[in-house]
């Protein structure tokens, strides 16, 4: 704890605010990319029922990928091509994105699937066209599950983004890696605590956003249907 409250660690090049900033930057970029990939894919599979095997198989295979191994492999493959930090940032982002895709994908799929078939049928019966059914009925109705997928993805990314430090990048992982290298336990503990706090903060933030954007008509009933497909996050892998 001493480390956390030492004012020297709150300003300067490798200060805690800078590290948090870098950590968030990697995390949010990775999340955005993962969402851009997984949400449309999940919707497509959910609506058409095509490629359901992707959900069961691929999503689980992605979960099984060992982050450290993958990161090392990607660094060896990619970094020679870039004379800048990009050579390390890119592998980190890819690992984080691969990590975030399964929860968002499975939840989006489950969300779209869970939309009351009668409501979709009613919409079609009222003369909604396919896109309109998607935007007006299926998406809003699956939103709680999609957001809960994003939520667990973000948590997972935040805790795993620490591995960026393993390959010389910034972020809160620096405290873990440097602390370990310098044999400084208090620095490591500070890193772990900050990561947990950051995760907690974003968890609450997303819970708040969920409450704001999801229709109150849905919140009561989706809680239960979510449980079987509720993706669970993998702990940090550094």
């Amino acid at each position: 704890m001493n480390y956390l409250f030492d004012p020297r660690h709150w300003s300067g090049a490798d200060s805690i605010p800078t590290l948090i900033g870098e950590h968030l930057l990697y995390s949010l970029i990775a999340l955005a990319i993962a969402a851009i990939i997984a949400v449309p894919l999940g919707i497509y599979i959910g609506v058409t029922g095509k490629g359901v095997f992707l959900i069961a198989g691929l999503a689980n295979a992605l979960r099984a990928l060992p982050s450290v191994g993958l990161l090392i492999l990607l660094v060896l493959l990619i970094s020679p091509a870039f004379p800048s930090k990009m050579g390390y940032i890119l592998p980190s982002l890819i690992v984080l994105v691969l990590l975030a895709v399964p929860p968002i994908l499975t939840n989006t799929y489950a969300g779209v699937r869970a939309v009351d078939a009668a409501a979709v049928d009613a919409a079609r019966g009222m003369g909604f066209r396919t896109m309109k059914i998607l935007t007006d009925v299926q998406l809003p109705c699956s939103l709680p599950l999609v957001l809960s997928g994003v939520r667990s993805a973000l948590l997972q990314i935040i805790s795993t983004a620490t591995i960026a430090a393993y390959i010389s990048l910034g972020g809160l992982g620096r405290l873990l890696i440097d602390g370990k290298a310098q044999n400084d336990y208090s620095q490591m503990v500070a890193g772990a605590v900050l990561v947990a706090l950051l995760a907690l903060f974003f968890d609450q933030l997303l819970a708040f956003i969920t409450r704001r954007v999801v229709s109150p008509g849905l919140t009561r009933r989706t809680i239960k249907s979510a449980s079987p497909a509720e993706p669970v996050k993998t702990p940090v892998t550094v």
Partner: protein, 368 residues
């Protein structure tokens, strides 16, 4: 008018759900499709707004074949009430009802005002407007479903077991409300049910389908009762056909209504005895509304509510033979109480008189 011409639907797995259906639902009338589970009712209904495409045959909407139309536009002309309401869970009740007008380009403001009216029209309090579907009971959701289908004021309505999700008591109320509504709005409606009582109660005409998707009989409710086309229809229509068919015969002065001496609450035992004919005397209130029957011999002192037998059901004079007969049969004195529209006493009838009048009338049916 909605017309089926030789319509057949075979599902990809080979199930023939509808087989050569010919049917005409006249404009402004309520046509009911009834039949056992799996006989193709829902399939038939959904072929009309092309949620299911027929395998062969043609369906006409006001003499135009639907096959040539843009499916989405076709559907917007037809109100569709789905089996379990199928409300949008993420929208408030008022926005659910306003969906169609908004889709058709009306302003949200205006659509909501209209929706509010409709919500009250189907018998829900205006305070429900801001609620979400899960906050309503099954029956209430059904009503919203009906309101939603009515919102765009479509000329046609398709209703798939709209009252199935509720218990029998509420169901009766919903049916009554719906009949009243249809009398006002006079839409061309096809309704599906598997409840023959509902079909007979609501339908202007009833199409009985048999499993395999064939039409067994298409007739008015009273005709269905008095001349079922075959054993299947007779069985399906079920017992009490004779009695129920009386529900379609108006009283219309056919039965002589006898005078009945009455007393009021608080009358003395002596007065009661004097006015009684047989063992029973009729008790009315100040405005001659019948309260019940009393037995003078059991009265000590004056006639009180305690003495009243309530089993008799008064029949309204403009009602049906069924009500008249039941008034007589349910009355402990065996004299059925007849009242006017305001519930004031006109007189009494005996079951014998009612049955004689029934027997005098020609049987509705002539052989096919």
């Amino acid at each position: 008018m909605i017309k089926f011409e030789n319509v057949t639907k075979a599902y990809p797995d080979g199930t023939v759900a509808v087989d050569g259906l010919n049917l005409e639902a006249p404009t402004g009338k309520l046509t009911i499709l009834v039949g056992p589970s799996g006989c193709g009712k829902t399939t038939s209904l959904r072929m009309i707004n092309r949620l299911i495409e027929p395998t062969s045959g043609t369906i006409y909407l006001d003499d135009q074949p639907t096959s040539g139309m843009d499916a989405a536009l076709l559907r917007r002309r037809i109100g569709y009430v789905i089996q379990h309401a199928g409300l949008f869970p993420h929208k408030t009740i008022v926005d659910n009802v306003a969906t169609m007008p908004v889709l058709l380009g009306e302003s949200r403001q205006k659509a909501r005002i209209k929706a509010l009216e409709l919500i009250e029209r189907v018998g829900l309090p205006a305070s429900f407007a801001k609620r979400y579907p899960w906050q309503l009971s099954g029956g209430q959701q059904q009503r919203v479903g009906v309101a939603r289908a009515l919102a765009s004021d479509p000329a046609f309505m398709l209703m798939d077991e709209p009252f199935s999700a509720v218990d029998p008591v509420v169901r009766g109320q919903l049916q009554d409300e719906f009949l009243r509504l249809q009398r006002e709005i006079g839409k061309t409606i096809i309704m599906v049910t598997h409840d023959i009582d509902e079909a007979l109660k609501l339908g202007d005409q009833v199409a009985v389908m048999r499993v395999g998707g064939k039409l067994a009989q298409m007739a008015s409710p009273s005709e269905l009762l008095t001349s079922p086309a075959d054993e299947f229809v007779a069985d399906f229509v079920g017992r009490d056909r004779g009695y129920r068919s009386l529900g379609f015969t108006k009283t219309a002065g056919a039965v002589a209504i006898g005078e009945e001496a009455v007393i009021q609450l608080g009358a003395s035992a002596d007065e009661a005895r004097a006015k009684a004919s047989g063992a029973w005397v009729l008790v009315v209130d100040g405005s001659r509304k019948p309260l019940g029957w009393a037995q003078p011999e059991l009265v000590r002192g004056e006639v009180t509510r305690e003495h009243l037998n309530l089993s008799g059901i008064p029949a309204v004079v403009s009602g049906t033979m069924r009500q008249l007969l039941d008034a007589a049969l349910s009355s402990p004195s065996r004299r059925g109480v007849v009242v006017d529209e305001n519930g004031e006493l006109i007189g009494t009838v005996t079951a014998t008189d009612v049955v004689k009048a029934i027997e005098a009338e020609p049987h509705l049916e002539t052989a096919r």
